[in-house]
């Protein structure tokens, strides 16, 4: 089953919630990024987020920047993103969302991008620098293709914007845990709890919290109030420092945090 919403629902029935893992395509190489993504799923990650390296990643901290800079230097092309999605979904059942800054999608063509992503077996897009206000083309393309679309909500978002994010999103809403960019933090902000509560009141079926989560304890803490926990920089760092095995081991460790208490 490739449906993000259904997987998150199932994990909230059988466990405390879903674990969502991020890795950039093409880091350290295309092949290794595919193997690492597979390893995450084999070690308990429920939903994958594959990031497309981009020249100007304003939402990313130093760990992910370093990885995507290397991927670009190694010759990452957008076509590799679709290839990675295809190769990963051929091997594991977890749904694969693509996380991308907006300009590559615009240049590829929003409709063409949606068609090729769907054909590759992708579940949808997470768009860190596209707010629903500017997303007319993508809303139409995702309606047409049935792809999920994950928009972000921040602690600073007004109630009206929270409602807009909930209405525009499908799959889940990405709750930005703290005001900031990607990067592991020692404590995940209290703001996340309040934000998830506001998203639920606005009708969100699933809110997943990201930015700063790096330990099983933090996953468990987040899953007390949210439907999913998103881990990025910590996994990228494990992959950078210790290779695929280390990334898999961290995924297994993080997955302990999804156990129901």
């Amino acid at each position: 089953m490739r449906n993000v919403g259904a997987v998150i629902r199932r994990r909230n029935e059988e466990a405390a919630g879903a674990l969502i893992g991020y890795l950039p395509v093409g880091f350290p190489t295309l092949d290794e990024s595919v193997e690492a993504a597979v390893a995450l799923v084999e070690n308990g990650v429920d939903v994958l987020e594959l990031g497309l390296p981009y020249s100007d990643p304003v939402m990313d901290g130093t760990v992910i920047q370093a990885a995507t800079v290397q991927a670009l230097a190694n010759g990452f092309r957008l076509a590799h993103g679709f290839e990675a999605v295809r190769r990963v979904t051929e091997r594991v059942d977890a749904p694969v969302l693509v996380m991308t800054y907006w300009n590559p999608v615009v240049q590829y063509g929003v409709d063409r991008f949606a068609d090729d992503l769907a054909a590759a077996g992708g579940a949808g897009l997470i768009t860190p620098d596209l707010i629903p206000d500017e997303a007319g083309d993508w809303l139409a393309a995702s309606e047409r293709t049935g792809l999920d679309r994950v928009f972000l909500a921040a602690p600073s978002s007004t109630d009206a914007r929270i409602r807009q994010a909930v209405e525009a999103s499908r799959g889940f809403v990405y709750a930005v845990s703290t005001m900031g960019i990607t990067g592991a933090r020692t404590d995940v902000d209290q703001a996340a709890r309040g934000l998830v509560g506001r998203l639920r009141e606005a009708g969100a079926e699933a809110s997943c919290v990201g930015l700063g989560i790096s330990t099983a304890e933090q996953v468990a803490e987040v899953l007390e109030y949210a439907e999913g926990a998103i881990v990025g920089s910590a996994l990228v760092k494990a992959l950078a420092d210790g290779g695929i095995e280390a990334a898999g081991a961290l995924a297994a460790e993080l997955a302990r945090g999804t156990a129901r208490k």
Binding site: Y54, S55, W102, N103, V106, Q107, Y108, A154, S157, M179
Partner: protein
Amino acid sequence: MALRAQTGPYFGEFGGRFVPESLVAALDELSEAYTLAKLDPAFGEELAELGRSYTGRPSIITEVPRFAEHAGGARIILKREDLNHTGSHKINNVLGQALLTRRIGKKRVIAETGAGQHGVATATAAALFGLECTIYMGEVDTERQALNVARMRLLGAEVIPVKTGSRTLKDAINDAMRDWVTNVETTNYIFGTVAGPHPFPEMVRDFQAIVGEEARQQVIDLTGGLPTAVAACVGGGSNAIGIFHAFLDDADVALYGFEAGGDGVDTPRHAATISKGRPGVLHGARSYLLQDEDGQTIESHSISAGLDYPGVGPEHSWLAALGRATYLPITDDAAMQALRLLSRTEGIIPAIESAHALAGALDLGRELGRDATILVNLSGRGDKDMETAARYFELLDGSAE
């Protein structure tokens, strides 16, 4: 509708707010504060007073006949933004945004800078208003504009050399945006040009429009009529839109923006965004952009740090699409020759950025002939560029090694 009446968030198909959701509240707050400030006569009066008693407004115009002899005999008139306090047009915008920062009640400001002129202006305003100040500057630019780094630090600002990407203005904006996303509750981002997400393109334009408003009247007073053409260099486009804006609805006045042609627009080393780019999204707005097939930004190159940027403000993209303004490239060498020519014929050393407009005016003059009057925005002075110029022209003893 009059072209002058156009406001954001969109200029035709350009502009918008392509930003992380975490920044929307801050952009909304800024838009609202700016809307209220525009309606408040006290705000306009305070800004005008700062212009008079701090910046030195109105800046004068200077006719440069000895320089104009090299431009086919056309009349050339310079709008002397180089004489402003801090040495460029950047202060006009910064004082406006610093006043807004005070209204919003934030105590810390951040800014990106390329040539260092916007950084110096921001550090200056921060000193004047008692604000904490952090400036992001690409490492390449901290080297080629070292004097401005020292100025900013002397003024009490923290200067952070940015070591990512091309280590120039584009990357400084990325890091400033990351800082803003993280510290938005306490921090205002004083953006230096007419690019970026709404409300920056409109707001920065409004703060720079004084340049053209003054110059239009000054040229009429001097010559009895409007200029034939108005010329300015274009990095992000703030000095250009500043001088263009008063003339947008004067259909007989031709508007020329001169982009950095670097080694030449047929080489990969240039920053001629409108001449050679195509529409895309960068730094929060849809506009012309130097990018590859996949939408990855291509690194720009210019001898001038202030023009070394692969994007451009959305209003310029719109004016280009409408055909209201024309954008042409000027090579590094043409700019440097114009810099030296103005220095030697008129005793005015321009910034390398502004020298692109001067080189463009030389070409325009030869094309338009003796009857033409060309108004050039001399956006800044060349002090900061002495090291680059000394190396380029081998002016220092032993510098030929």
